[in-house]
């Protein structure tokens, strides 16, 4: 009886890993076999990576805020680990979204980067805000102080996520409007819609798997006593010290 939860827990990650491999495979297959876009041609396939990455970044930062609230209310380090893991993944997905967006922008818009695009600029700022969040975590050695400080920043930082999401509606911008709207998915034909949705599911599975794996690493990381980086023996000379 007692071994049941741990067995379930130990099976969860391999199961998720298997599902993710299958999902990513299916995503790749649908992305490569769907019809090319009338205007963008084969460059539309980049969007099957770009759009799910951007969605997952929003989800990840939302989960970071949830973890922050969870920590502030319950004061359990598990919530802080959830916030940390999700923020790291959010930064990763934001970087993928920015990079793939730039790759797509060059042939379609004629430029890798356009300052007139509100979504692009605000996403880049969101990326830097969460880099700051991760830097704050890294700079705070005590786990409880780290959890307290980063929970506050996690809550402040999430305010701008809706601004980034709705920036395409709030400002005049080059970026296309929302792809998924209440009146349907705004894409060419059904194979493109399928490819987008399958990739969204695959990226979500990837996020959940990586999140579980990262949360599991957390306690082991905390157990490592005072890791000193290579080269830390070399220190700056102490000013004002007599020989």
């Amino acid at each position: 009886m007692n071994t049941q939860p741990s067995r379930t827990r130990s099976l969860l990650l391999p199961t998720m890993f298997g599902l993710t491999i299958a999902g990513v495979g299916a995503g790749l297959w649908t992305a490569l076999t769907s019809s090319p876009d009338v205007e963008q041609g084969n460059f539309v396939r980049i969007l099957y990576v770009h759009a799910p990455s951007a969605w997952l970044a929003f989800l990840a930062f939302g989960v970071t805020a949830l973890g922050s609230i969870g920590w502030l209310v319950r004061r359990k380090l598990g919530w802080d680990r959830l916030a940390e893991a999700s923020a790291e993944l959010g930064v990763m997905f934001t970087a993928i979204a920015l990079f793939s967006g730039s790759l797509w922008g060059k042939p379609v818009w004629g430029a890798y980067w356009d300052w007139a695009d509100a979504r692009l600029a605000s996403t880049a700022l969101m990326f830097f805000v969460y880099l700051g969040y991760l830097a704050l975590r890294r700079a705070t050695p005590d786990p409880v102080a780290r959890a307290r400080r980063s929970a506050v920043l996690g809550l402040v930082a999430v305010i701008q996520v809706p601004l980034v999401y709705f920036s395409v509606n709030l400002w005049r911008t080059l970026h296309q409007g929302m792809t998924v709207r209440p009146d349907g998915v705004q894409l060419g034909d059904s194979s493109m819609v399928t490819a987008l949705l399958v990739n969204l599911a695959a990226f979500t599975l990837l996020y959940v798997t990586l999140l579980l794996a990262r949360i599991r690493i957390g306690p082991a990381e905390a157990a490592v006593p005072d890791v000193r980086p290579a080269g830390s023996a070399v220190t700056a000379p102490k000013l004002g010290e007599s020989r």
Partner: protein, 223 residues
Amino acid sequence: MIFLRQTWAIARRDLLIEGRAGEVSAVVFPFAVVAVFVVPLASDTLAVRLGDLAAPVYWLIALLFGMHVTLRQTGSETRTQRRHLVLLGIDPAARIAGRAVSAAALTFALLLATGPLVILFYDPEPIPRLWVMVPTLLLFASGLSLLATLAGDLTAGLRARSALAPLIVVPLAIPLLVGASQVLESLIRQRSTLTGTLVLVLSDLALAATVALAARALEEATT
């Protein structure tokens, strides 16, 4: 009422310290003036119209030096000082509010002093209804000071504080910058300034609400 009295006491303390130390007036302001001179010196003034650079240079100075004002050395509290305030029963939100009020007053003064210099040396297009910029700058200074006070508390006592606090403040201050620069742009183009003002007011309110909610947790983290 007690909250307001405590807020005023903290703000007054910070302003008195600044009055004695003169860090903003003797260090930050001259540094900002040097920054005003750097851009024309680094540009080919025969090819570039400096008037076009006036607004971007002003907002850059407002953001970076406004942040400097809040994070100034004489304005930072030690852990012992913060513990004393806790023992005295000062509301953590009042402590942050008081610090933000004093920083906002100093930032506002810095922005008011730097503005005419930028107009004088860059010769931008005339700005109709220039007085509208006074409340706009006050809203901008309030939001920036709240944000920088929050970042200062989040990074209090950390070795990387001097680099980490600006990394937190600058990207989060962009809505304030967008709002304030939209007001200026609207004045120049003689349009309604409502959108920019609304962005500023909403950003300030969101920051104030977050500070009120997070004040207790911040106090625990820094004492």
